[in-house]
């Protein structure tokens, strides 16, 4: 489904801020994999997702989605294959546009846009039904500006937008990190529901080890731009935070020093 082959990326090369963010990263995802990604700050988690999304081009290596080489494809063209939810609830939606208009934008992802109506009556009914499933009462507020919604509502809506046209790959970049614990749990619940319903291949970055263990069928840990731990299937089901930390220390040869990951 997704193949990352030997990716390299250096930010600010030749300056004092030079940072090797991806250091020969390779990863293969199978159809229907739900991978959770953990790692300390600066480990390259978000960099990996942005490389797949095409936010910038990688320096070296190859990215294949479903056998198609997308390495040099621009961000908006690659969007046809991808659904994305970002850490900041502000990033995923257009605040000055209505809920239905945001959904209508997402509905047309991967299609050429012409002078046809930006939203049709038939779509409205469809969106109302889809919003009902979220259980947030958004189905009665179709024309409300998204800027009026809470962070959790916006993330739930972004999730819906990311999956409205079934993506080949769903990228979740710490999409619950900016929410309070109760809201985060609700958004994660919606995530699981949608991923299972549509059998989506998913990569989810999280700072929360427990979430990483509880969700998905595969877990990878990153450090210094590489994958240092890759656990799946039965072995993943038996994981606890304690033995994940032990495995991290074994794999990396150092103490896990990220407080936020330990505490949450």
């Amino acid at each position: 489904m997704l193949e990352l082959k030997n990716l390299y990326k250096t930010f600010n090369p030749g300056t004092i801020n030079e940072k090797l963010a991806l250091n020969g990263l390779s990863l293969t995802l199978k159809e229907g994999d739900f991978v959770t990604v953990i790692g300390g700050n600066g480990a390259g988690k978000s960099t990996m997702l942005n490389a797949v999304a095409g936010t910038w081009m990688v320096d070296e290596g190859q990215i294949l989605i479903d056998g198609t080489d997308v390495t040099r494809l621009s961000e908006h063209k690659r969007a046809a294959y991808l659904g994305r939810v970002f850490q900041d609830p502000m990033t995923g939606t257009a605040a000055t546009m209505g809920i239905e208009e945001n959904l209508a934008l997402a509905k047309r992802r991967g299609k050429t846009r012409f002078l046809r109506p930006g939203i049709t009556r038939k779509e409205r009914d469809e969106y109302r039904e889809l919003l009902k499933v979220l259980g947030l009462g958004l189905e009665d507020r179709l024309t409300s500006k998204v800027g009026l919604l809470s962070g959790g509502q916006r993330q739930a809506l972004t999730l819906l937008m990311a999956t409205l046209k079934k993506p080949k790959l769903l990228l979740l970049d710490e999409h619950t990190a900016a929410l309070d614990p109760k809201t985060a749990a609700k958004v994660l619940e919606i995530t699981d529901m949608i991923v299972n319903r549509d059998h989506l291949t998913t990569m989810m970055i999280t700072h929360n080890m427990q979430d990483a263990i509880n969700h998905g069928n595969r877990l990878i840990m990153m450090m210094e731009g590489k994958i240092i731990l890759d656990i799946e299937g039965e072995e993943k089901k038996k994981l606890t935070v304690r033995n994940l930390l032990d495995q991290f220390e074994k794999a990396s040869g150092q103490e896990f020093s990220n407080d936020s990951a330990l505490l949450s």
Binding site: H76, P89, A106, P117, L136, M161, L179, T183
Partner: protein, 308 residues
């Protein structure tokens, strides 16, 4: 101070305000919808008139001339768009570069700094002679007003289409737009072209109205456009929520600007100071949202409602 002289001057001011209203709608599209302050318009506000006048003088039909003027404006927008998207130049600087370049282009179009047409020799659509004592269907105010209504209707339709929605999304949130497969570079270029096309159309009207095109006629146009946008929003923002009505309020804002300007002139202010006054008024109005956010901000709850 003779009140009759003011009243006599008001229809002319309203006509000018309406003509600049088309220009202000163009500024609104870039400034509010694309979230770009496009300084190209200072140049385009002459290019449109220059093209229109020269086409008329070479014997072209008035409609063809105005269409060509609009097309010339769109090309100017295209130039700024290419500077910005292909060459990565910040939008404001890209606009300044095009504006500077257009100064030469405008001179070359006209062959000299000023070209006049005699409104009795040419079949003009609008003129400052056609304000009073003409049949109503020849009245400049009516003709420009009808034009504005048609333009607003077309823009209202356009910004409801798929392409129009992608333009709005690009201005609101480019990251999200790209994630939803929108070519934000294309959207920006298209927006700049539409905006400058409108400005050039306004310029073509203005040149006919005053009977000449002048290489300096666009100087400070952006400030007048912004003033119209801001006045329109300040006066009608609370009642006009719909997109078409917002565009309408921009045109009304432009009329108000010219009416106030006329009143200020009537009160006997030194006209050399008018541009300084305009600049200061616009500066203060632009500062209002910033001050509001800084000094009167309501505390925001982080993370939003718990029931989400």
């Amino acid at each position: 101070m003779d009140i009759m002289s003011l009243i006599n001057a008001l229809p002319g001011a309203a006509a000018q305000g309406l003509i600049w209203g088309i220009m202000a709608i163009g500024v609104y599209l870039t400034f509010r919808i694309l979230d770009v302050a496009d300084l190209t318009v200072d140049g385009t506000m002459c290019t449109g008139g220059a093209v229109c006048i020269m086409m008329l003088m070479s014997g072209q039909n008035i409609w063809v001339s105005m269409l060509a003027a609009t097309g010339a404006g769109m090309l100017a927008g295209l130039a700024t768009g290419i500077f910005h998207t292909v060459m990565g130049i910040p939008a404001i600087l890209a606009g300044i570069l095009t504006q500077l370049g257009l100064y030469s282009v405008n001179l070359k179009i006209m062959g000299k700094a000023n070209q006049a047409v005699n409104s009795s020799k040419y079949d003009l659509l609008v003129s400052l002679r056609n304000i009073k004592d003409v049949p109503f269907y020849q009245n400049t105010i009516l003709i420009v007003a009808v034009f504005i209504v048609i333009l607003i209707a077309v823009l209202y339709w356009f910004f409801g289409t798929e392409i129009g929605c992608s333009l709005r999304a690009t201005g609101c949130n480019p990251n999200m737009s790209r994630a939803q497969g929108i070519n934000t570079d294309f959207a920006k270029v298209l927006g700049l072209m539409i905006s400058n096309g409108l400005v050039a159309l306004s310029s073509a009207f203005l040149a006919q109205y005053q009977g000449f095109a002048d290489v300096n006629m666009g100087r400070g146009a952006i400030v007048i456009g912004l003033a119209a946008v801001i006045i329109g929003e300040a006066v009608f923002g609370k009642i006009f929520r719909n997109f078409a009505l917002r565009l309408f309020s921009v045109a009304l804002g432009s009329i108000l600007y010219y009416l106030v300007l006329q009143a200020v002139i009537w009160m006997g202010i030194d006209t050399d100071l008018l541009k300084l006054l305009s600049a200061l008024v616009v500066a203060v109005f632009l500062a209002v949202p910033y001050w509001k956010a800084k000094y009167f901000a309501k505390p925001m709850k982080r993370g939003g409602n718990t029931n989400a």
